[in-house]
Each structure stands twice: as structure tokens, then as C-alpha cells.
């Protein structure tokens, strides 16, 4: 039986319930994208499909989001080890890279437009816009979470408590998920 209680549900918490809840939610988000990519496969098999090459910028952008994940991971490590500067400034770096990703995705859509692939054209192009757009929406959600994390980092005195660690981990896991989701989507579109 637990003697110290960090919070009221500590006696069984192998995984903190909020974290488990997040993972379950990530499963649902993943299902949305699995559905979209399956729809892509089904529609392509049904014919009347226009093939074209994905603009290069989408590939470069993958590095941006992955780098952002690396920065956030470093920030987390800094948070745990008591290196306050690493924690704060890596968080800023992750945030900036996250923003850069969204901006570059927008450039990607412009690049699509410039090679004549329109949102309202053949579904093969519409799928790219919808899939990457819907993904970008989830990135924006992550950016909001990063902003909250930034507020915590700069407004509150540095104190690596259990609660703050846990809260940070929620953001961290979501952000990694969004990054790898993009890798999955890109590999999918590349191999199709």
C-alpha cells in the first residue's frame, strides 16, 4: 500500500491516467489518418487517377518537424536534469521549428498549385491537400500546447515537480506523435 500520496490515484498508477488518456486519443487520431490513406488507396484502385510527383519541399520539411522533435526531447532532458537553460531555450527552438513546419507546408501547397495541381481538381491532388492540411491542423494544436509549455517555462519558477514533469510529457508525446505521423504520411504518399 502506498504511503506517500502524490495525488489521489497514486495507488495503481503504473501509467498516469492523463497519459494513458492521451495515448488512447492518439490512437483515434491515427485512425482518422489510416482512414484517409485507405480511402486514397481505394480511390486510386477505382481508376480515373492523375499521377504526379510530390513537390520536394514536402520532403525537406520532414527534417524540420523531426528536428523540432529532437529539440523538444533535449528540452525535456534538460528539464529533468535541472539544466534550466537547456530546458527553456530548447523549448523555444522546438516551437520555432514547429511554426516553420506549418509555414513550409503552406509553401508546399503553393508549389502544388504552381504545377497545376488544384484542390478542386482530380482527387489525387485533392487528397494531398486534405491529408496534409488535416495534419497541419493537428500540428497547430500541438503548437498551442507548446505555447502553454512556454508560458509554464518562463512564467513559473523552475521546479521539476511530478505534476510539471507529467504535464511536459503530455506535450512531448503528442509532439513526437505528430512528427512521426507526418513521416508515415509522407512514406505512404511516396510509396504509392
Amino acid at each position: 500500500m502506498a504511503t506517500v500520496h502524490k495525488d489521489r490515484i497514486d495507488y495503481r498508477n503504473k501509467i498516469h491516467p492523463h497519459k494513458l488518456a492521451l495515448w488512447v486519443a492518439l490512437g483515434s487520431i491515427l485512425m482518422m489518418f489510416v482512414a484517409l490513406t485507405s480511402a486514397y488507396v481505394v480511390k486510386r484502385a477505382a481508376g480515373n487517377w492523375l499521377d504526379f510527383d510530390l513537390p520536394k519541399i514536402f520532403y525537406y520539411n520532414t527534417f524540420v518537424i523531426l528536428l523540432s522533435s529532437v529539440f523538444l526531447q533535449m528540452s525535456y532532458k534538460g528539464f529533468l536534469k535541472g539544466k534550466e537553460y537547456v530546458y527553456k531555450y530548447m523549448l523555444v527552438a522546438a516551437f520555432i521549428m514547429g511554426l516553420a513546419f506549418v509555414v513550409l507546408q503552406y509553401k508546399g501547397w503553393l508549389a502544388l498549385h504552381s504545377i497545376g495541381i488544384e484542390l478542386s481538381g482530380n482527387p489525387s491532388g485533392s487528397f494531398i491537400y486534405v491529408i496534409s492540411g488535416f495534419h497541419a491542423l493537428h500540428v497547430l494544436g500541438g503548437i498551442v500546447a507548446l505555447i502553454l509549455a512556454l508560458v509554464f517555462a518562463f512564467k513559473l519558477p523552475y521546479k521539476p515537480t511530478y505534476r510539471r514533469k507529467n504535464r511536459f510529457e503530455l506535450v512531448l508525446h503528442y509532439w513526437h506523435f505528430i512528427g512521426f505521423l507526418w513521416v508515415y504520411l509522407l512514406l505512404f504518399l511516396f510509396t504509392q
Binding site: 495507488y11 495503481r12 483515434s28 489518418f33 482512414a35 480511402a39 477505382a46 482527387p123 485533392s126
Partner: protein, 616 residues
Amino acid sequence: MEKNSLLIDDEKLLKENGFNDHFHEHHHDEDPYQSNFFSKYVFSMDHKMIAKQFLITGMFWAVIGAAMSVIFRMQLGFPEESMTWIKPLLGKWIVVDSAGVGHLATEFYYALVTMHGTIIVFFVLTAGLSGTFSNLLIPLQIGARDMASPLLNMLSYWFFFLAGVIMFLSLFASTGPASGGWVAYPPLSVLPQASSGSGVGMTLWLVSLTFFVVSVLLGGINYITTVLNLRTKGMSMWRMPLTVWSFFITAIIGLLSFPVLVSGFLLLMADRSLGTSFYLSEIFINGQALDNVGGSPILYQHLFWFLGHPEVYIIILPAMGISSEVLSTHSRKPIFGYKAMVISIASIAFLSFLVWAHHMFMSGMNPFISNFFVIFTLIIAVPSAVKVFNWISTLYGGSIRLNTAMLYAIGFVSMFISGGLTGIYLGNSAIDIQMHDTYFVVAHFHIVMGVAAFFGMFAGIYHWFPKMYGRFMNETLGKLHFWGTMIGAYLIFWPMHYLGLAGVPRRYYSFDVFDTFSQFQSLNAFITVVAICTFFLQIVFIANFFHSIFFGKKVTSKNPWKSNTLEWTTPIMPGHGNWPGNIPTVHRWPYDYSKDGFDYIPQIQPPLEGETTESH
């Protein structure tokens, strides 16, 4: 066998064996959850109050949804009769001709059918059933203070409420609510030129259901996390009541399938408002060619039914769990084949993802692909049959208390058998070519899903009403309600099989141009009359429900049904946190009824002398 009653002093057990989680030290003088009217009754974060909110909202929608069916049944049963008398309510949707005879506008007929399906499937049998009982029972039956996240839980209800408000408003749109069927197939649902209901009504329908999905996901995340993380000491997974198992697995199916529906909706919305052609190709409408090419309407059907079929199990699994619990408690026997029941629920859940295209045998899909879906569809009958066998075996030789809850649980089994059997016909693609989109399908799913799930819900309401309101519902009225509804439901839906076998198509406004179907006019009139009677009989239930909240017979002991599960160890009206002192710890599975000469042994009872537990 003479049955002794074990003298159970649960106060003492809770004190000595209970687990002190220091819960009450955090809430000193004032309980932040229930400090004023708003936080207690409106924006409540207490799972028991949220359960009641889901239930009463669900009941509201049930009345609206059923009333709609009464109106379109009048059209089907008595197409010649004037409906002018209902004009004050429906306004311009009743078209009065020069002779003063009023008829239901054809578009509004479709709108009613669409709204009836949407409301009953999503708002009543998903939110009203699973939302109510998952919220009420998961924390109480696993020994938790509340859900893992009471805040998300509250949001789950309010998103449902918002979805309801939007759907309700859509009923008043001047072009009418969505009218393309509850499945909203494109291209009809994309093109406002095709049907007036595909205009703003359809937009509101999509927005409403998107909020609804948010509600289901928030609820589901909570149910899963709570079950996995907040079980009390001793409550292993294999000691959970079947109710909790069914809510848990239902939540998993929901989290995997509803997002797919959202993706389908996303593409539909893009087609509607961004000019894409995911579902549209080469369409002529009003003599004009649209420039959409390259899409496929079948794609939507795949995405819809990937949710749609699991959705029917999302509806029925909680009803199964509730019925299992009620059957076991009121026949004073352990549920027969507990593990087989759990495995059946899990395999039904798994298989439900592999059968969706049995709704699409007639869509022009490759017939070789149909074979795959035929086989898995027929396999799903196996775990379903296992469950039916176990329910009947549970009843066999029991000391049955034939109260209203029990009657409804038995009625559930009856309905599930009757409707499940016709599913096996439909699952064969060769037969389905004839049956698809006829009244045979309507009969199938109303019996197996509509009525059966309602019966599971009624069983749950009559059984747990004492836990919700500290009073009993009236038994005499309950029995009247049961027998009337049971007989009424069979009389309404059984004849529909014959209509379907003869080829009468569903969703038709009238059959006056088909001479062959005129022979069924009197049968249709009969169905309508019974439907109206059964609808008004529900007043007995609603009156009984609300009257009993205030004036029902008071519950005087904690455990009126002599049940084993943990919710009956809480005070008669549990406050926030459910147990005033320690939370209970669990020492056995929930189905020790009529064991070793004892009538029942609750889960909080440690092993008795010389007793072997876990023998199931």
C-alpha cells in the same frame, strides 16, 4: 437446496478491509464539485449526475425520434387520410390540396425518416445508452471515486448537448433538415440541387454529428482509462462484471471506428464546400453536367460502413452487458460461461471491423470481394450464438425473480435471437440481392438493434433506478409497460419480414404506382395502428420514471436486489467520491450467487473458511 443468507456487514468490511486512499482529506469542509446549483446539476463533474444528464437527454430524443416515426407511419398506413389536423405543428410540410385534404410533403417524409434514424441510432441508443450506463456503472462497479478525468467527462456531455441543439435547430431550417437517409450517401447528400434537405439541413447534420463524435471520443477515452487505471485493489480484469467489460470494449470500438466516420465526413464537407470531387464523378442534374470528375460515391460507403457496422455493436454490446448482469442477479445464479462471454464480446468487437461491406453487396462492388465479407459476416453469428446459449443457460434452473428489469432482460434475449437469425439470411450475398433495401432489412435491424437495445436500456433503468434516485419505480406499471411494448414491438416488426420477402422497398413515400404491393395496404395500416398504440404506451414509462423520482417507494437498505457488485456497497444516495470512507477492496468475481449454500456473496467478502474462490 436451502439457501442461507450470509450475514453481511458491509460497513464493517469496508472499514476493516477497505482501502484508505486519503480521498476525503482533500475535500475538507466544502465539496468543490457540489457547492452550488450549477456545479451540482448543470456543469456537474460527478459521473453519477452526468449519467442522469445523458439518460434524460436521451429520453427527450427518444420521444422526438419516435414521434417522427409515428408521423411517417401514418403516411404509410393511411396514405389517403387527410393530415390537415397536424398542420399547426408541421406548417408548410403539410400540403393542402384544393379539396382541403392535407398530405405530408414528400421531401419532409424523407426528412422524417432520416432524422428518425439519426436520432435513434446516435442520440438515443449510443449516447443515451452507453453514455448513461458507462458513466453510472464504471466507477461504481470497479470501486473508483470518479472517472479518470471528470472534466473531460463533463465536456463529453456538453458536446453531446451541443450536437443535439444543432440537430434540433436543423429541424426548423426553411429547406428542411437533412433528408438523404441516416447514412447520408453522396452524391445526394453533396448536391443541394438534388434535394432541398441537402442544403443547410445537411450542413447542420454534419456539424452536429461531428460534435457528437467529439463527445463519444471524450467519453470513450475516459471509460478506457478509468477501467485500465482506476480499478480498486483486488479488482483484476477477470473479476470485472460483464457490464464493465461490455462498456470497456464498446469504448474501444468507438475510438477505432468513429474517427473513420469523421474522415468520411471531412471528404464530404470538402466536396460540399471546397469544390473537390472525392465522391462525385460525371453527374447530370437538372439537365446540366457538373464538372466534377474522378470521384467515387462507393468510397463514402466504405468509410461510412467501416463505422456503421461497428456502430451497431457499439449500440448492442452495452445492452448485452446490462442484460447479463440483470439475468444473473435476478435468477440468483452465476452467469453461465463468464469467460466465454468476455471472449465473445471481444471477438464480436474484432469481427465487427471485418464485415462492413455486407451493407454494400448491391453497390456494384466486386462479387469476389463480397465472398470475403459473407464469410466473416456468418462467422460473427458464432460468438453471438455463444452469448445467447449462455443467457438461456443462466436462466435454466434459476430461482427467477420475474420483476420488470428481469422481464426486459429476457425480452432482450428474445429480440436478439429473432433479429439475429434474419441477419444470417442477409449476410448471404446471394439472398441479399433480393432482400437489400426492402422491409426485410428494416425488420432485421429494428428487432435486433432498435428494440433489443431499448430493452437492454429499460432493463438497466429499472434495475439501477434505486441506485440513481434512491427510490423504486412502480412494478405494476413496469410490467404493463413491458408486456405492452413486447407485444407491440413484435406486432410492428414481424409483419415487415413478409413485406420484405415480397420485395416492398424501404424508404418509399407511397406504393400507389405498384399494383403488386396494394395487397399489403391493410397490413401497413395494421402496423401503423400498433405503432401508434405502442408509442402512447411509453407515456406509462415516462410517467412512472418521473413520478418515481419524487414519489417512488423509498429504498431502505443498501442492497435491495441482494447483488454482489460494488455499487451496492455505497450509501443509498452516494455523494461525491461514492464511498464516504474507505473504498472497497475486492476478493472474488461478481457472480457468486447460490454458492456453497449461500444466496449471494458480495465481491467485498474475503474468502470464507474453507472456501475456494475463482473456480469459474
